[in-house]
């Protein structure tokens, strides 16, 4: 089904009836282009972003800001009113969105953001001599309190083990093991010690920060496999690692 910009704006405004709105939402599930159009047309994106550009990260805004133009609210009708209102409503919006308490990302999102910064040159010249890897794995396993099954990691087909690095997320040890695939592109496997109270979670595959990922949790540890890009097929590695890292 095709939707006009007017229909999409009506959806964003909340003026479509329930059936029409559901039709848009159902269509977005299988249509990334429609999703992009909706996000581009959404008048609230620049309004909320304006709020976050003006409000300090940790200090609540007190004074009303100077009126500023709003990019997506230059038309007529309700959105014009919205645009005018937006310029004087920064305080109200920031209070509503609770601007001084940005949403916290979980360990997997943070790890994906970090890994997305890797390029082939990041790993091309790493010292992967046996003594160096011995030391890295000893440190990592001591922090985690469990084996990383290095022999399994070194035998993953098509991947060249490059480094095990100790990181931390909210005081919990987070180990990032980096590989290069056949094209020299970075590939990673992360393990975090979450604690005995952490629930087990089945494998969830998603694209995070532009990388194909698979995450799961078992017996107090969280695991994450990160591909080189959004299209990476993680199937083979996931099968092996899921078998080995079950507790």
């Amino acid at each position: 089904m095709k939707f006009s910009d007017e229909t999409l704006l009506a959806y964003l405004e909340g003026s479509l009836d329930e059936v029409e709105a559901r039709a848009v939402e159902d269509a977005v599930v299988d249509d990334p282009v429609l999703e992009t159009r909706l996000m581009t047309l959404d008048p609230f994106v620049p309004v909320v972003q304006q709020v976050f550009e003006q409000v300090p990260a940790a200090v609540p805004q007190v004074d009303l800001p100077e009126p500023q133009p709003v990019r997506a609210a230059t038309g007529t009708g309700p959105w014009r009113l919205l645009g005018v209102a937006a310029s004087v409503a920064v305080i109200a919006v920031s209070a509503t969105v609770w601007a001084t308490r940005p949403a916290e990302l979980g360990w997997a999102q943070q790890a994906a953001i970090y890994q997305s910064l890797y390029v082939p040159d990041t790993i091309a010249s790493l010292d992967r001599s046996a003594p160096n890897l011995d030391m890295q794995f000893a440190q990592a396993e001591a922090q985690l309190g469990r084996s990383l099954n290095r022999e399994v990691l070194e035998a993953l087909p098509g991947l060249d083990l490059k480094r095990a690095q100790v990181l931390s997320f909210k005081g919990k040890p987070l180990i990032q093991i980096v590989f290069a695939n056949a094209q020299g592109q970075p590939f990673a496997f992360c393990v975090i010690r979450q604690g005995d109270a952490a629930p087990n979670k089945d494998v969830n595959q998603a694209v995070l920060s532009g990388l194909a990922t698979a995450t799961w949790a078992q017996d107090g540890y969280g695991y994450m496999l990160l591909g080189s890009d959004a299209q990476t097929d993680l199937g083979d590695e996931l099968t092996v690692l899921r078998d080995v890292f079950t507790g």
Binding site: E25, F44, V47, Q49, L81, T96, A103, G106, Q109
Partner: protein, 63 residues
């Protein structure tokens, strides 16, 4: 007026951090329809807040 935590979290991911609906859905482990529904509800609340604030401003200025 504050947004419920789930709506605020979704608004932050999509409007502020620029994640797509499906990326936000994956990150929050909910269906994409839930993301869109949360954003729709958040838009209505934000619109109400902004229109209310506009009315107050006009009233204070005596126009």
């Amino acid at each position: 007026m504050e947004l419920p935590e789930a709506q605020r979290e979704t608004v932050m991911l999509v409007f502020v951090e620029g994640y797509s609906y499906r990326e936000a859905a994956a990150m929050l482990d909910v269906p994409i329809g839930t993301i869109m529904s949360r954003l729709s509800n958040a838009r209505q609340k934000l619109k109400t807040v902004m229109q209310h604030d506009k009315t107050d401003t006009v009233r204070r200025s005596g126009k």
